[in-house]
């Protein structure tokens, strides 16, 4: 007997939970503006999130999936990606989408039941979020294949949760990325819970990152609440992808919110666990480091919170002021040109909305 394969999974962390550097920081941290921009983006995501939940609780937004406590992952993805790259997100990735240029109003429109939220003005080639878990990984394979075929130096980034890594679509996609050496990065937001099923109920593997090994691509684990580590590792993965090596980045985080606003996580997890992970918060961690380094003050924090609150308020106002689409829009863009076979159904729908003769609607 002899051993025919071995593997190692690296774990990356630069800032510990208290915001202290535990390794030599990557070069980009020499630029405080860059770090502050990451801090701003995480703070904006959190303020937006609070507002979105408040809107849902008051009946002004539909069911909504919160990224609370996982803001560093999306911010690092959005910050590391270049405009020409393509994001293929799951449903908890609006931190990344914001940095790609998707407006907060668009995200509110989507969760508020309006398709126009997926017709964003920026990032026109990015996919809209995918609700069917892991199916988006296969799209990312096609996007990355197209990039490679056209000899472009762009990369595709696909997001997924820990639960999604149990699905065939995920394995099939990793496998294909390895076979064709695609410019593709899979980011796993391992927030430890897939609705009510914990990470331990998804897979007996020591790490989710090692699923990459079985596909012959690179895999590593990163502290997903350390935005410096996440950004550095995303940048490294983008470099690798351009050389034709796909990656899996398993970002270790924690879902501080319910699964969605329709869920009650107190049914299946303990307050002790929440308290444990609250102490590892990505935003307060970076705040500690910035403050300690002399790059951030309480006055700056107050000013930032005020500025971001204003931005969120503006987005909410624009969302609430958006008139609903005409009902027949459900037929428009169904096909490039609506087939004759369905024209009468569209007419029927329009007729059904017209006020009845005799002004019954005014009665």
């Amino acid at each position: 007997m002899k051993s025919v394969a071995q593997f190692t999974i690296n774990y990356w962390q630069y800032l510990n939970a208290d915001g202290q550097a535990v390794a030599e920081l990557p070069a980009f941290t020499q630029n405080p503006e860059r770090i502050i921009s990451l801090y701003r983006a995480m703070s904006l995501t959190r303020l937006f999130d609070q507002k979105a939940i408040a809107l849902q609780r008051t009946g002004q937004l539909g069911t909504y999936a919160s990224p609370l406590g996982q803001e560093a992952i999306g911010v690092a993805i959005g910050s590391a990606m270049r405009p020409e790259d393509v994001l293929i997100p799951a449903y908890r990735d609006h931190a990344a989408q914001f940095l790609r240029g998707v407006r907060m109003t668009d995200i509110l429109l989507y969760w508020g039941g309006d398709e126009r939220g997926m017709d964003h003005v920026e990032a026109r080639e990015d996919f809209p979020i995918s609700v069917p878990v892991a199916s988006q990984c296969c799209h990312a394979v096609g996007v990355a294949y197209a990039m490679k075929l056209r000899r472009q130096s762009r990369v595709a980034v696909s997001c997924i949760g820990d639960g999604g890594t149990s699905k065939g679509d995920f394995y099939e996609s990793l496998n294909a990325a390895g076979v064709w050496q695609l410019p593709l990065i899979f980011v796993i937001n391992n927030n430890h819970w897939a609705i009510s099923v914990p990470r331990s109920g998804q897979s007996a593997t020591q790490t989710l990152a090692q699923k990459a090994i079985a596909a012959g691509i690179y895999g590593e684990q990163v502290d997903g609440n350390d935005v410096i580590a996440m950004t550095a590792r995303m940048e490294a993965a983008i470099e690798r992808a351009q050389q034709g090596e796909a990656s899996v980045i398993e970002a270790l985080s924690y879902r501080m919110s319910d699964h969605t606003t329709a869920d009650d996580a107190s049914r299946y997890r303990s307050q002790e666990e929440l308290d444990k992970y609250a102490a590892r918060d990505p935003i307060s961690r970076l705040n500690s480091w910035l403050s300690e380094a002399g790059f951030w003050s309480e006055q700056q924090e107050l000013a930032l919170q005020e500025e971001l609150a204003e931005q969120v308020d503006q987005a909410v106002k624009a969302y609430l002021a958006t008139e609903p689409q005409p009902a027949q829009s459900m037929f428009d863009d169904l096909y490039e040109t609506l087939p004759n076979a369905y024209q009468n159904q569209r007419d029927e729908l329009i007729a059904a909305q017209a006020p009845a003769d005799g002004g019954a609607d005014h009665g």
Binding site: V86, I88, E115, R116, M118, D119, H120, R124, E125, F127, P128, S130, V131, P132, S135, C137, C138, H139, A140, V141, G142, V143, A144, Y145, A146, M147, L149, A156, G168, D169, E172, S173, N175, A176, V179, S329, M330, D332, D333, L334, Y335, E336, P339, N340, A341, Y342
Partner: protein, 326 residues
């Protein structure tokens, strides 16, 4: 000009479009070096290279999903699913993504793709290789479902499918892959989608069918003709969207209709056509609509499959029944 079979017409259409539109890719299991298990893609990899004629890993969900990604990037992928029996893991991608990408992004992204699959029974194939489940796809808004029944229509409809800006399921009746030969000019001329094809004009009864059953339906029309009954034969060809106008117009003239399909009877495209006639053609009908179909059973293994498949005789009898109705 040489006469070619239906499957050769598929190859001819793929080759034409690949030569004339560099956005067209072919992908699937064994489509490259091997040229496909039925040889539909034979020679394409040699001609257009392994980057455009892609042997994929054995993963149908991946094939469909990556096809969505390729299409969203502006390419024109044509994916092959080796047999319809392996298409069911593809349903999620077609239903959840391909069919709705244009609509949900309000036209920002679209999905100009073709998914080809051989389907149907009658060739003594192994289990899972003989089903006719086209109705599953015909039920999905945003898709087109196209089924050729001759070499000429295979060529023209596949070209149209590849040029269509929306996702098309292209189901190939494998029982007649090599049954009939005809001259098919390789001129790149597409046939229209979304319309029925009237294969034979007649005045007494309308026989409506698609796919491999067109063979039996035409034979039945011959026999009926010998009996002095003039049967019109309509090949539906695009089962989604359905060309109601042509079917209604024909039945308005004949007053009688027999629907013939290999798929199980209930809940399918035949039922849709019957409902169409009941709703919009009732006053023209001189007899109840007849259906000659497969049974609502699991497709039997091949020792019994001939008992499952609709026969010429059944079609003839159904047509006669409509004429005898008082």
């Amino acid at each position: 000009m040489a006469e070619i079979t239906l499957i050769e017409a598929v190859t001819q259409a793929l080759a034409w479009e690949m030569a004339n539109d560099e956005r067209v890719l072919v992908l699937g299991e064994d489509v490259g070096v091997n040229g496909g298990v039925f040889r539909a893609t034979v020679g394409l990899q040699q001609q257009f290279g392994a980057e455009r004629v892609i042997d994929t890993p054995l993963a149908e969900g991946l094939i469909a999903g990556m096809t969505v990604g390729l299409a969203a990037q502006g390419l024109r992928p044509v994916a092959e699913i080796q047999f319809m029996g392996f298409i069911y893991s593809v349903l999620d991608q077609m239903l959840s993504h391909a069919s709705r990408l244009r609509n949900r992004t309000r036209g920002r992204l679209s999905c100009p793709m073709v998914l080809r699959a051989p389907f149907g029974g009658g060739i003594h194939a192994p289990e899972h290789h003989s089903e006719s489940t086209e109705a599953l796809f015909a039920h999905i808004p945003g898709l087109r479902v196209v089924i050729p029944s001759s070499p000429g229509r295979a060529y023209g409809l596949l070209l149209a499918a590849m040029r269509d800006p929306d996702p098309v399921i292209f189901l190939e009746p494998k029982r007649i892959y090599r049954l009939v030969k005809e001259e098919v000019p390789d001129n790149g001329e597409a046939l229209p989608l979304d319309v029925c094809y009237t294969l034979r004009e007649g005045s007494d009864v309308t026989l409506v069918s698609w796919g491999a059953m067109i063979k039996e339906t035409l034979e039945a029309a011959d026999i009926l003709g010998e009996k002095g009954i003039s049967a019109e034969v309509i090949d539906v060809a695009t089962i989604k969207p359905l060309d109601a106008v042509s079917i209604l117009e024909s039945v308005a003239r004949t007053g009688r209709c027999v629907i013939v399909h290999e798929a199980a009877r209930s809940g399918g495209v035949g039922a849709e056509i019957a409902a169409l006639l009941a709703g919009e053609g009732l006053l023209h009908l001189m007899a109840p609509v007849q259906r000659v179909t497969g049974y609502d059973t699991v497709m039997p293994l091949f020792r019994l499959e001939n008992h499952y498949m609709p026969s010429v005789q059944q079609i003839v009898e159904a047509a006669q029944k409509t004429l005898e109705f008082e």
